[in-house]
C-alpha cells in the first residue's frame, strides 16, 4: 500500500470507529477490534491516547493482538522518540521500518514453526 492508500484507509477507519461507538448494540463497548471479510481480516489496536494501529492480514491469522502490541512498542521507541518526527504526518522513520519488517518476519517464522 502506498502512502495515499494508507491515508485513505486511516481516515476512513477513524470515521468508522467513531460511528461504530455510537451504533454499538452492547453497552460499554468501546471500539471495533476486528473486521472479518472474505479475503482479509483487519485487526485494530487503540491505545489509551487514542492512537490506533491496524493490521490487514489473511483471514484466520492468529495472534495479531500480540503483534499489534509489539508494533505499538516499536512505534513508541522509534517514532515518538525521534525528535524530528512531527505528529500527524506519515511516518518516515527508517529505524521504525527496519524494526517493523523484522518483527513481522519473526512473527511469520514463529507462526510457521507452530
Amino acid at each position: 500500500m502506498d502512502t495515499n492508500d494508507s491515508l485513505r484507509v486511516a481516515s476512513l477507519w477513524h470515521s468508522m470507529h467513531a460511528i461504530s461507538q455510537q451504533l454499538s448494540p452492547t453497552t460499554g463497548c468501546s471500539e471495533i477490534e476486528l473486521l472479518e471479510a472474505d479475503t482479509f481480516d483487519l485487526h485494530i489496536f487503540q491505545s489509551l491516547t487514542g492512537t490506533k494501529l491496524f493490521v490487514v492480514c489473511e483471514p484466520g491469522t492468529q495472534h495479531m493482538e500480540a503483534l499489534l502490541k509489539v508494533i505499538y512498542e516499536l512505534y513508541t521507541d522509534y517514532v515518538l522518540n525521534n525528535p524530528f518526527y512531527e505528529t500527524k504526518i506519515p511516518i518516515r522513520c527508517e529505524l521504525f521500518d527496519i524494526n517493523l519488517t523484522q518483527a513481522i518476519q519473526k512473527d511469520r517464522v514463529a507462526l510457521l514453526g507452530r
Binding site: S15, S47, L48, T49, E65, A66, K69, Y75, D77, N81
Partner: protein, 186 residues
C-alpha cells in the same frame, strides 16, 4: 489470548537501557544554564522548561502505556498512583508517593524522595525564582493531556529553594474526551 498483566515500575526500569546518572544530570544542567544565558529572565526559563516538558510528555505517555500494560484508570486517584509508582520509577528510577488529597479527589501532591536532576546543584542568588525541575511539571501535564485530562501542575516544595522535599501539586481541571469532527442531528 488473556491480556497481559500491568508491569511494575521496578520491572520495567530493570528491563530498559539506562544511561549514566551523572551524564543525565550534567545534560539537564547544561540545558538549564543555556536557557538562562539565552533568555536571561528566570520566569521565561521556567515557562520554557515547562514547554519542553510538555513536548516530552505528549510523546512519553505512549511509551509509558506500551511498556507498562496498564488499563484505563478508573479515577484520578488511580492516575496519580500510576504516575508516582510506575511512571517516576520507570523513567527516573525514583519512588514517589501521593498524598494530601482534597475532598473531591481532584487535587493531590506527589512527593519525590529522590531527584536525579538536581544532584550536585545549588541555586545561586541570581536565580532564586527558578524552578529548576520545571520540566517535570510539563511532562506530567503533557502526558495527562494525551489521555484526556487537563491538569495544572505546580511546585509546592523545592529542596533547591530551602524546603525539605520535592513536592508537586497535580490538580485535575477537567476531563476532555476525544471529540469527533461530526455532530449529531445535523
Amino acid at each position: 489470548m488473556p491480556p497481559a498483566a500491568p508491569r511494575s515500575g521496578d520491572a520495567i526500569f530493570a528491563s530498559v537501557e539506562r544511561v549514566n546518572a551523572e551524564l543525565f544530570t550534567l545534560t539537564y544542567g547544561a540545558i538549564v544554564r543555556q536557557l538562562l544565558t539565552d533568555l536571561e529572565e528566570v520566569e521565561e526559563v521556567n515557562k520554557q522548561l515547562d514547554q519542553m516538558g510538555y513536548n516530552i510528555g505528549i510523546r512519553l505517555i505512549d511509551e509509558f502505556l506500551a511498556k507498562s500494560n496498564v488499563s484505563r484508570c478508573v479515577d484520578f486517584k488511580e492516575t496519580a498512583e500510576m504516575i508516582a509508582k510506575v511512571g517516576f520509577k520507570m523513567f527516573l528510577g525514583v519512588t514517589a508517593s501521593v498524598m494530601n488529597w482534597d475532598a473531591d479527589g481532584t487535587c493531590c501532591s506527589i512527593v519525590l524522595e529522590d531527584n536525579p536532576l538536581v544532584d550536585f546543584v545549588e541555586l545561586p542568588d541570581t536565580c532564586q525564582g527558578l524552578y529548576y525541575c520545571n520540566i517535570l511539571s510539563g511532562v506530567i501535564r503533557g502526558a495527562l493531556e494525551m489521555v484526556a485530562m487537563k491538569t495544572e501542575v505546580t511546585w509546592i516544595r523545592d529542596m533547591l529553594r530551602g524546603d525539605d522535599a520535592y513536592e508537586l501539586q497535580v490538580k485535575l481541571l477537567k476531563q476532555v474526551p476525544e471529540e469527533y469532527p461530526y455532530k449529531d442531528d445535523e
